[in-house]
């Protein structure tokens, strides 16, 4: 399984290095190409959305670890598109009790084939006063998962003509606003919330950890090239020490992603706890790294031409999605107290 995961990661990374280079992403954010659509076709062709899915749903069964690898690499490349929302939503649907029956089975097949994308509630708790729901995903998304009553999740169909494309800071992703009145409920997925929250949190953590890796690698390369006072700026201790701290913290962040993924896949009592803690810690670490990578670039870090701003805006969005990190830590604290009370060892590492 670990070998297969490493192979999958390698192949995703290779494709993205080629197809989703810095140049291509800037072309997309400048409106000169349709990289998100091109990647959408590529992802369907290469079957990336089937990586995590169970074999019963036509997937290759790499589960949460597969989901994490995919989103990590997409984050590392700051890939434009609605893959995070789609991959999380389809994985949650595949784990729902209704996965084998229509309309969900058909929806999963369409997603894997690349003919439809899915959206996710940007926030799992905020009820907007204007009667709209904000969704992470493309305006053309066919369906979305939003919070229902208690632990229930609602699957809703979307009418693209009613979607309002919001203009957000993160140029690599899309958030749309939808009037609740235009949402058509398809079905209630009973008790799916913990599963969805875990997967959503994991994917956000993976995307952020990948983005932190991506911006840090590029910043270190820049620090070796850029010269001032007759020497590369990376030779200055005040800067290289920061790079070393980021390197160490990025490695720690990666571990939290794998901790969460392993717990979800093994259905351990700590699955929800570790996913939400991973999201909270990793998005914050990534925001610190991505912010300092802007600073370490100096003047060009403040321009749109260079990469650091793309990553900074991306991880800042990750940080705000799903639920505020404080609320996630509160949820984790309750879960930890419960685990101690039940003698569930949620700190054990296999």
């Amino acid at each position: 399984m670990q070998d297969l995961l490493a192979e999958v990661r390698e192949s995703i990374a290779t494709v993205l290095d080629e197809q989703c280079s810095s140049l291509a992403v800037h072309g997309f954010t400048d409106g000169r190409n349709a990289l998100d659509q091109e990647l959408q076709s590529l992802v369907a062709e290469l079957g990336w959305l089937a990586i995590s899915l169970p074999e019963a749903s036509g997937g290759i069964g790499l589960g949460s670890q597969g989901l994490a690898v995919l989103n990590y690499e997409l984050g590392r490349a700051s890939a434009p598109g609605s893959f995070l929302a789609t991959s999380v939503a389809v994985e949650a649907l595949a784990r729902s009790e209704a996965a084998g029956a229509e309309p969900i089975a058909g929806l999963i097949a369409d997603v894997v084939a690349g003919s439809v994308t899915l959206a996710l509630s940007a926030s799992m708790d905020v009820q907007r006063t204007d009667g709209a729901v904000w969704l992470l995903g493309d305006a053309s998304a066919k369906s979305a998962l939003i919070a229902g009553e208690g632990d229930d999740i609602e699957l809703i169909d979307l009418d693209a003509s009613k979607a309002e494309q919001l203009r957000i800071w993160d140029d690599t992703r899309s958030v749309i606003s939808f009037p609740m009145s235009a949402c058509k409920k398809v079905m209630t997925l009973r008790g799916l919330r913990p599963t969805l929250v875990s997967l959503y949190a994991l994917a956000l953590a993976a995307d952020s950890a990948g983005a932190a890796r991506g911006t840090l690698d590029r910043t270190i390369a820049y620090m070796k090239e850029r010269e001032q006072f007759g020497r590369p700026i990376g030779s200055f201790q005040a800067l290289k020490h920061r790079a070393a701290d980021h390197q160490v913290n990025a490695k720690g962040a990666d571990e939290l992603v794998w901790q969460a993924a392993e717990q979800i896949d093994a259905s351990l009592p700590g699955a929800l706890l570790w996913s939400v803690m991973a999201k909270a810690n990793v998005t914050e670490v990534a925001a610190r790294i991505a912010g300092d990578c802007v600073q370490l670039h100096g003047g060009v870090g403040f321009t749109c031409e260079y990469d650091p701003h793309l990553f900074l805006k991306r991880v800042r969005l990750d940080e705000m999605l799903l639920l505020p990190n404080g609320a996630l830590r509160d949820e984790a604290a309750r879960a930890f107290a419960d685990a101690l009370g039940n003698d569930d060892d949620v700190l054990e590492i296999a």
Binding site: G234, E255, D330, A333
Partner: protein
């Protein structure tokens, strides 16, 4: 002996668990906390002796010197069980258990190995005389001078930060034998008996009130030439072996102990309905650090797996540097949080002899030992940036 069960993990672990429960008094930590520092060291000696009876004192050593060549996986089982039970920490034996065999097995003569290793396995305490007032992070600039006089070296100079040297019988000592050579080339590695005339040991009172460290003043100290480890003027290479001897099992045990301490702290807080649990900042920061500790424990396990799989030294050395920086920074953050949670009560100076739980300000104050020793964290950052990330030297 319990060590004979090592090939059957569950039997091995449960034997260790049962034996600890029968052997270690349940109130040992309270007793240690009430006692003196010297009594705490005596307690370590007793505990080491008990471990030795079960083959658990030096299981990682080669069999001809008293061990069973226990591999890293087995060492992790032992360390894990000790951490789980909160047994006394063997701080007085750090050099004995790791640096001594790490030096003598690859670099010592057969006579030195036979003479020193078996007694060490039975509890002889060793200390290290490396750093000097003028040679800290820049260790190779050390100046403590050794001059050959017949079949002895005559040593004059000063050493500092020599942990537990007040309690030691022997010292591994770095001296300068050739002051004309380049700084790495004129160093030799010696073994010194701590009762040699001319050696003056002066404890240093630390910021935590303890005096683990001492300064060593050497005035015409005579050390037989047979106590030279490796070749004369080749001591820097020997010292590299010494410093590479700790492969992460100590960091593993430290991480595991902290895991249990944090878990107990939270469990006790929940049981006592502690006020800080209702404080959003404290509660959330606690969870943040609990997650970081998990990340740190995973990184250490990865390092130990890499050692077992024989990964190249360059890669494991870099992982060690990253872990040192991550884990010690984290320990300091945990100490900082506990100090803030404990508030004014945390400023009462209580004993920390048992090192078994968070005691007010103590962990925070002591955390600077972690961030400064073993290569300061600033040196770690240089190593990570230059050798790991390939950033140019300044």
């Amino acid at each position: 002996m319990i060590i004979d069960l090592r090939h059957d993990e569950s039997a091995f672990r449960s034997a260790i668990r049962d034996w600890i429960a029968q052997t270690l008094p349940s109130d040992w930590a309270e007793v240690a906390d009430r006692g003196t520092e010297n009594e705490a060291v005596e307690y370590q000696r007793w505990w080491f002796g008990e471990l030795a009876k079960q083959g658990l004192s030096v299981p990682h050593w080669p069999s001809k010197f008293g061990g069973v060549d226990l591999g890293i996986a087995g060492q992790m089982m032992v360390a894990d069980e000790m951490a789980r039970a909160g047994t006394p920490q063997l701080s007085v034996y750090t050099v004995t258990l790791n640096h001594l065999p790490g030096t003598l097995i690859p670099c010592g003569s057969p006579e030195q190995q036979v003479r020193y290793l078996p007694p060490a396995a039975q509890g002889a305490v060793w200390c290290q005389g490396f750093s000097e007032p003028g040679a800290g992070s820049d260790l190779a600039s050390l100046r403590c001078r050794a001059v050959r006089d017949g079949d002895h070296y005559v040593i004059n100079g000063q050493k500092i930060w020599s942990s537990m040297s007040r309690f030691a019988q022997h010292c591994i000592l770095l001296v300068r034998t050739d002051p004309e050579a380049s700084k790495h080339a004129g160093i030799s590695f010696l073994i010194m008996d701590m009762d040699t005339p001319g050696l003056d040991i002066r404890p240093i009172e630390q910021i935590d009130g303890y005096a683990d460290f001492s300064e060593l003043f050497l005035t015409d100290v005579r050390i037989p030439v047979e106590n030279l480890v490796g070749e004369e003027n080749d001591g820097w290479k020997v010292a590299q072996a010494t410093l590479a001897s700790e492969r992460g099992v100590l960091a593993f045990e430290a991480g595991e102990r902290r895991r249990h301490m944090l878990e107990d702290y939270y469990r006790n807080a929940v049981a006592a309905k502690a006020a800080w649990l209702e404080d959003d900042e404290f509660r959330r920061q606690f969870m943040t650090l609990l997650a970081d500790l998990q990340a740190s424990r995973r990184l250490i396990r990865q390092l130990l797996r890499d050692h077992e799989n024989g990964e190249p030294h360059a890669s494991t050395a870099m992982a060690s540097a990253r872990i040192k920086l991550f884990q010690t920074t984290l320990i300091q953050k945990i100490g900082d949080l506990i100090a803030r949670i404990e508030g004014l009560d945390g400023h009462l100076r209580l004993s920390y002899n048992s090192q078994r739980r968070f005691v007010g300000m103590f962990d925070y104050i002591y955390s600077f030992a972690w961030t400064i020793s073993g290569g300061t964290n600033e040196i770690m950052r240089n190593v990570i940036a230059e050798r790991g990330l390939g950033l140019p030297r300044g």
